[in-house]
Symmetry: C2
C-alpha cells in the first residue's frame, strides 16, 4: 500500500470530507480555523537517543509548518505522547522543548493524552486561524502562476537528525491573499510539487532549484524534511525564490531543465 | 512519575492553559467548541490480534466518550495512525470500523496523518460543539449535589478486549444545562471520582455502586474502561443511577459505606 492508495480510497468513503490539504478548514463568521495532526515516532521520524528538547521542538514544528502552509497563525495545540520510560526529567525536557517553540509561535498547549509504550511516539494537533476565505489550499494553481520556495533546499536531507525545524510562520501573513496554492515541503520537492500539481490539475516546469550549502542537487530535489514552503502565486512573494512556472499539461507532470522529474520523495508505506 | 505529577508540573508552565477537563473548551459567539485527543496503542490499550474494525471503533469511541462527558455533540475528527504492516486490507478494515461509528455519531473524518511503526498506534482528535456556556467541567460539583452514573459498572474491566465501547452521546443533551460536573469513567470509578472531587474541592459519599452482570464489586469500583458517564447534578438526570452525594470535606476523599475508598484505578505511568 502507499499513502496515496489509502488516501484515495478514504476520500471515496461516506463520512470523509476535506482531505487533501495540509490542514482541514472550518469556516467561521470572521475567521476560518485550520486543523492538522502530525505524528513523530522514535525510529521512524527520528533516531533513538535524540535530546528530548529536540524531539519536543520538532514534534510541534512539523504541525506549525502545516499551519504556515495554509497562510494561518497558530492558536493552540493538543499533545498526545507515549513514553518508553518513567523518567520524569526526560518527560519534562520533552515538554520544555515543545513549550519554548509554542510560546515563540503564539500557540498555547491546552490538553492531550499521556501514555506509555516501548518506543516514544507523539502526535500533535495544532489549530490555527486565518482571515475568512484566505486559507491556502493545494488546488488553486493556474497556468502562468510562478512557483516559489521559501529558502534553499536539501539541508535537512543531509542532516535531518540534528537541525531544529523552523516552521515558516513568518511568511504566513505575506502569502495569504496573494498566493494561489501552498503546501509545506515535508517529503521532497519532486513528490510534493507533483501532489500540488495533481490537486490543481496542472503541470509545472522548473528552471532552477536553490541548493542549500553542503547539500547536493539530488537532496534538494528529492530529499524531504525541508519544512520550507512551496508557494504558487500570480505575483512575486517577498523573501521567496522563484524556481519555475505552472503550465497547462498532464496533471502532476513536472519538467526540470527539459526532462521529466520523477516524484521520488518519501512515502511512508513505500519504503 | 505519575500522570498526576506530569500534569501538575505541566499546568504550572508558561504557555499551558485549560488542562484538567475531558476536553479543551474554545468559547464561540453561538456555541462553544470542545477538543480532545486519545491514543490507542497495541499492547497497551488493546492486545495484538484484535480485529481491525474493533480497533477502529474503539479508538474513536474513547474520544467520543470525552465529547459526551462535556455535554457536547461531535462534529469532526482527525485520525493519526501508524501501521506495522503494509496490509492495505487491514488498514481499510480499521478505517471501516472507525467510519461506521463516526457516521452513527454525526462525526465526519476530515484529515490526519499516516505512518508506519512496529506496533500499531492511533491518536484520534475529536471536535464537538455545545451551546454557549453549557460545556460540563469537573470543577462545578457542590455539597448537596447527587452523584450519578449512566449505567452499571465493571463489564469492560472483566472483558475489556472484547466488547465495543459505546460512547454515551445519547445523554449529552439531557445533562447539559442540568449537571454541575461530569467526566467519563475511563480509569475506574474510585480514581475518576477522586479526580472530579479534587477539581471541585469537595468530598463524596457513596451508598451503593451498580455492578454489571458477571462483574465483581471490585471491578465496578476500580476496574476502569467503563466509558460510562460520572455525573454530578443538583437535579435527577433521566436514565442514570444515583450512587451517592457530594459533601463538604477534604478535597478528593471518597467514603463508601462508611470507610474511605482508596483511588485504585489506572495510572498510565504507575504500573
Amino acid at each position: 500500500m502507499t499513502e496515496r492508495s489509502v488516501l484515495d480510497w478514504l476520500a471515496d468513503q461516506p463520512g470523509v470530507v476535506g482531505l487533501g490539504d495540509d490542514c482541514y478548514i472550518v469556516p467561521g463568521p470572521m475567521e476560518d480555523q485550520v486543523f492538522t495532526t502530525d505524528m513523530f515516532i522514535e525510529g521512524v521520524h527520528f533516531k533513538t537517543g535524540q535530546a528530548p528538547e529536540w524531539i519536543g521542538h520538532n514534534a510541534l514544528a512539523r504541525g506549525l509548518s502545516d499551519i504556515a502552509a495554509m497562510g494561518a497563525d497558530p492558536r493552540f495545540c493538543l499533545v498526545s505522547a507515549a513514553f518508553p520510560s518513567d523518567d520524569e526529567a526526560w518527560t519534562r525536557r520533552f515538554f520544555q522543548g515543545l513549550l519554548k517553540l509554542a510560546r515563540e509561535s503564539g500557540c498555547v498547549l491546552t490538553g492531550g493524552d499521556l501514555s506509555h509504550t516501548d518506543r516514544f511516539v507523539a502526535d500533535i494537533m495544532v489549530c490555527g486561524v486565518v482571515p475568512r476565505g484566505l486559507a491556502l489550499r493545494r488546488d488553486g494553481a493556474k497556468p502562468g502562476h510562478g512557483v516559489y520556495v521559501s529558502d534553499a533546499l536539501g539541508t535537512r536531507a543531509r542532516d535531518r537528525f540534528c537541525s531544529l525545524v523552523k516552521p515558516r510562520l513568518d511568511l504566513a501573513q505575506s502569502i495569504r491573499g496573494r498566493a494561489s496554492a501552498c503546501m509545506d515541503l515535508s517529503d521532497g520537492l519532486s513528490i510534493d510539487l507533483h501532489r500540488l500539481c495533481l490537486a490543481s490539475g496542472v503541470s509545472a516546469t522548473l528552471s532552477a532549484v536553490p541548493v542549500a550549502p553542503g547539500a547536493t542537487e539530488e537532496q534538494a530535489l528529492h530529499g524531504g524534511e525541508d519544512y520550507e514552503l512551496l508557494i504558487v502565486s500570480p505575483v512575486q512573494i517577498p523573501d521567496t525564490i522563484r524556481i519555475g512556472s505552472i503550465v497547462a499539461g498532464t496533471p502532476g507532470v513536472i519538467s526540470y531543465r527539459g526532462t521529466v522529474l520523477e516524484p521520488k520523495g518519501y512515502d511512508h508505506f513505500a519504503t
